[in-house]
């Protein structure tokens, strides 16, 4: 699996650290305990195309938002996480 980092170019996935589903949003304190439990422990875990966060730890150290098909490992798009918020 290769990830095309917008800063460094096409690099081996071994250079990256995966963080998980990019759509998870930290709830507001007022939303209560259940919302936090869902945020920390709940996952959509779809079989299909999802947005996820990867960190280019052995490269430019940018956080990336990667659009990837979990059924095939095909990567559809890569962008800086600060610019792409699903």
């Amino acid at each position: 699996m290769m990830i095309n980092c917008p800063h460094c170019g096409n690099r081996d996935s071994g250079e990256f650290h995966v963080r998980g589903e990019a759509a998870q949003r930290r709830p507001d304190y007022s939303e209560g305990q259940d919302a936090f439990a869902e945020y920390v422990y709940g996952r959509t875990n779809i079989a299909g195309i999802q947005h996820e966060h990867w960190y280019h730890v052995a490269g430019c150290r940018n956080w990336l938002t990667v659009e990837r098909d979990t059924r095939t490992h095909a990567i559809i798009s890569v962008a800086f996480a600060r610019e792409a918020r699903p």
């Binding site: 699996m1 081996d12 996935s13 071994g14 995966v18 998980g20 305990q33 259940d34 439990a37 869902e38 920390v40 422990y41 709940g42 996952r43 959509t44 875990n45 779809i46 079989a47 999802q50 996820e52 990837r68 979990t70 059924r71 095939t72 490992h73």
Partner: protein, 420 residues
Amino acid sequence: MSAQHYSIFALARQALAKHRGWTPAWHNAAPRERYDIIVIGGGGHGLATAYYLAKVFGQKSVAVLEKGWIGGGNAGRNTTIIRSNYLTPANIPFYEMSLKLWEGLEQDLNYNAMVSQRGVLNLFHSDEQRDAHERRGNAMRLHGVDAELLDTAAVRKMASFLDFENARFPIYGGLLQKRGGTARHDAVVWGFARAAAALGVDIIQNCEVTGFVRDAQGQITAVETSRGQIGASKVGMAVAGNSSRVAALADLRLPIESHVLQAFVSEGLKPVVPGVITFGAGHFYISQSDKGGLVFGGDLDGYKSYAQRGNLPIVEDVCEEAMALMPMVGRARLLRSWGGIMDMTMDGSPIIDRTPVPGLYFNGGWCYGGFKATPASGWCFAHLLARDEPHPVAAAHRLDRFAAGHLIDEKGAGAQPNLQ
């Protein structure tokens, strides 16, 4: 439908008759209109659940629905290690119940599952790791489970070929569970299927569950499948790596991520590896099958996957660990490698529980350790389905434990399934 009894006499009789008299091991059923209990998933856990529902809990109307063929999922892809060397008070009794069931399984099922208690040895490589293993061994012994702490000399006697003086990871000793070992995964599937079918369970292959039918109260009344609608009073999910997918059909979101785990087997060699040996300085384990192949594996690839195949960085990582532990392995050629989809939970421990949907029950989150759990998982899930209350040894394996803060955290890795 009664099955042929397998024995040395049956074998001799069939040999004289040129093996023409064997009948199919189980009946390949077509779906009926409805069942009291439907189990989704024809892996080890689904089949064991159905078997114990019929055998122990007297259920007469049970079906197992499998989207492909039985044993085509993780049940047929794992590295077959069985053991009960856990640390937490919730997990030790559960896995020990399973190991005790393994010890009598072949007689119970009348099927040779090649259960072999050849021992599981976890190596350690520092003083701190020795302390941790001693603690684990003590926890096991307090629960009546066998565990022995070995020093280097004792490990040398068992496996002289290990790299004891490795500059970075010298071997300081190991924690041995002699009653641990391996079993033949396919035979476990076939044995449970045959024994369940003989007790009247319908095993329905090529039947994918695609939806749930619910009444006005939200109660499950039927499942939609690729072979039509099938009615049920209760439905139990045992779909391992596909847990989130099937749960989503009932609008449930689970504390689970699906990850790929790879495994490897070498060409056949003469007997060399005694039992199962694990490397404590990374994540690597190895055993030798009865055919002679070295069977080994290591870490998850680390990213979510439903692809049933992994990538090369882990191949490299596993091979490096193999070389650090036992350099002679470098001479062996790799025969095959493959991957399976693991249902990784947020604390590394499984879930056997009701769900918020009335009539729907959940068994999953087995991570990469569910093969050894097969008999106890089936028994406990059958108990829950038949009696609507958890079996005492699985009472802590609840779905709401994450929100409640009662995690069963073997490793203390936090809500990071790819690190469990």
